[in-house]
């Protein structure tokens, strides 16, 4: 079977999230937030979370501007992290990193990525991996309360 990277990268789900990103707003007040910026591309986003006493992410939003991949990734990330605990979020972070760098095959390896598995084709586009991972590194920085902007470049 020949691999069609185009359909793998710009799938309908990704295009649709780019067009109508979910949870696309500022969250005020919030318990955690962080900024992600890839100056070479210009992808720039801000992630906001509310984490409760049980370390559960009750609300997660983002705002910013960037390419379709970065926007769709952030949108889908907010959907998948809402209601998860911080520890579960860390596991998803690790698995997502492996997925987009080709180290996790969602068809064979065990994972809890759910819909996020759609990003598996991106490792064929090494220059675009940083677009998909920016929001994840940003959310991790927010959880870890790092005070400086994150970059994946």
């Amino acid at each position: 079977m020949s691999y069609d990277p185009k359909t793998e990268l710009y799938q309908q789900v990704i295009l649709e999230h780019n067009k109508a990103p979910r949870n696309f707003r500022k969250l005020e007040p919030c318990t955690h937030n962080a900024e992600g910026y890839n100056p070479l591309c210009g992808d720039h986003l801000h992630v906001y979370l509310n984490v409760d006493g049980q370390k559960k992410i009750t609300t997660i939003t983002f705002e910013g501007d960037g390419c379709a991949i970065s926007k769709a990734s952030a949108s889908m990330m907010t959907e998948s992290l809402k209601g998860k605990t911080v520890d579960e979020a860390r596991i998803l972070f690790e698995q997502f990193q492996k997925l987009i760098t080709g180290k996790l095959n969602p068809d064979k390896d065990k994972h809890v990525l759910g819909k996020l598995a759609i990003f598996q084709g991106i490792w064929h586009f090494p220059m675009r991996v940083k677009c998909a991972s920016l929001c994840w590194h940003t959310v991790k920085a927010a959880i870890d309360k790092e005070n400086k902007p994150v970059s994946t470049e």
């Binding site: 990277p5 185009k6 990268l9 710009y10 295009l15 100056p39 070479l40 591309c41 210009g42 992808d43 720039h44 501007d65 960037g66 390419c67 379709a68 991949i69 586009f125 220059m127 675009r128 677009c131």
Partner: protein
């Protein structure tokens, strides 16, 4: 439409560039990233290979046959470059690592020696980062002031504003000849004349200009001129700094080492004469010789012919891109060369770059090392197609089709 330049045979030129035969994602390569770097003709590749295969050796010191040949060819490249730029003397040609390296040489040597606290360095809003950051570094260290001449919304220098910024305090003007992200051709002759009326020297960043316009440094009367070999169909890793002999002689060397000395004792070192004073260490022998072959190649076609052909291509490309309703061209200067920079309201530049690559089309996306230009136009990034003498109208048609296909994906 028959080409206006009859002697210009693009088919023949294309046959000289082996990289054009490559397929990308199953499609013939359409290389439209020439402002980043140009492809290399076979003769340049062969010339470099010949050096490595037949007379690898260091220059200027050896007495053996190979070293003599390497030295001769290295110095012949310098003489070719002198002729190419119409410099008075070949000692005014200094080989560097690239445009950035050349500008840094002027900053480190001329800047540190002759620019003082309170003095002003004048650049324009459309400079590449390599003609911004070195001057910021100088200003930070010396307490001089960086002044920036603004451009209008077409991407043209605003002459009235520029004029106001040149005064007795201006100790160096450093401007780009052809903007890499907008294609604007700046009125460098007027800039130089104006700066000279204040006894202020001028550095011209000719990185993009050198493959498009015939440059005569004596006619321009510029004091310094910098560019890279790899944007002139030559190898990477070599650049040129032209400087007026009187200025270069006044300037201290900024890198110490071998080859730049006349004699060394632990008490005192006597520096070598021009141009060696500025070429410390073993130079990039192979690639300087390769650059010589690139100059021969370009001159065998003729820069006037190349420029005329590319102007025709640019006009065609502009016309075709304007037919796509959602495309907004960034950089619409009246006097413009080689560059088609654009944005799309729905498709981010990086998505555009990835999608047209699926059709074999290589364009550049991002800020093109000109973040202030992006800021001026209120965009984070543009897609940029940049033309060279081997490009064709058919290739522009393929780009247009690829853009339309991308629009289909994002519909």
């Amino acid at each position: 439409m028959p080409p206006k330049t009859k002697s210009f045979d693009v088919k023949k030129i294309r046959a000289d560039f082996p990289n054009l035969k490559v397929k990308v994602r199953g499609k013939p390569l359409v290389y439209l990233d020439n402002a980043a770097t140009t492809l290399k003709p076979q003769i340049v590749i062969d010339t470099i290979e010949k050096y490595y295969k037949e007379y690898t050796s260091n220059v200027h010191r050896g007495v053996h046959t190979l070293s003599q040949k390497a030295t001769e060819n290295y110095e012949t490249s310098r003489e070719k470059m002198r002729q190419f730029l119409n410099a008075r003397k070949s000692c005014e040609i200094i080989f560097t690592g690239g445009t950035t390296d050349s500008i840094n040489l002027v900053m480190q040597s001329y800047g540190r020696a002759f620019i003082k606290k309170g003095d002003e360095v004048l650049i324009t809003e459309m400079e590449h980062h390599s003609n911004i950051v070195p001057w910021q570094m100088l200003c930070e260290g010396k307490g001089c002031v960086l002044k920036v001449a603004p451009m209008n919304d077409k991407g043209e220098l605003i002459w009235e504003e520029f004029k106001k910024l040149v005064n007795e305090k201006t100790k160096l003007v450093s401007v780009v000849y052809v903007s890499n992200s907008l294609g604007t051709i700046n009125p460098v002759k007027d800039i130089i004349a104006l700066a000279h009326s204040y006894n202020c020297p001028v550095l011209i960043d000719a990185a993009q200009a050198v493959s498009h316009l015939a440059i005569d440094v004596q006619k321009l009367d510029c004091d310094f001129l910098a560019f890279s070999s790899h944007k002139l169909f030559g190898p990477t890793g070599v650049g040129v700094l032209y400087g007026k002999e009187t200025l270069l002689n006044k300037m201290p060397p900024y890198r110490g080492g071998g080859d730049m000395i006349a004699s060394v004792t632990f008490e005192k070192t006597i520096y070598n004469v021009l141009p060696y004073k500025f070429e410390a260490g073993t130079p990039n022998v192979a690639d300087v010789i390769g650059l010589g072959a690139a100059i021969d190649y370009v001159q065998s076609i003729g820069l006037e012919e190349i420029g005329a052909y590319k102007d025709e291509l640019l006009a065609y490309g502009t016309e075709q891109l304007k037919k796509i309703p959602d495309i907004r061209l960034i950089g619409t200067a009246k006097n413009k060369a080689s560059v088609l920079s654009f944005v799309h309201p729905v498709i981010h530049a990086h998505d555009m770059g990835t999608l047209v690559d699926q059709e074999g089309v290589a364009i550049r996306t991002g800020h093109h090392c000109t973040q202030p230009v992006m800021k001026h136009f209120g965009v984070a990034a543009t897609s940029r197609a940049s033309l060279a003498m081997y490009n064709t109208k058919e290739e522009i048609d393929i780009l247009v089709k690829a853009i339309k296909k991308a629009e289909e994906v994002f519909k």
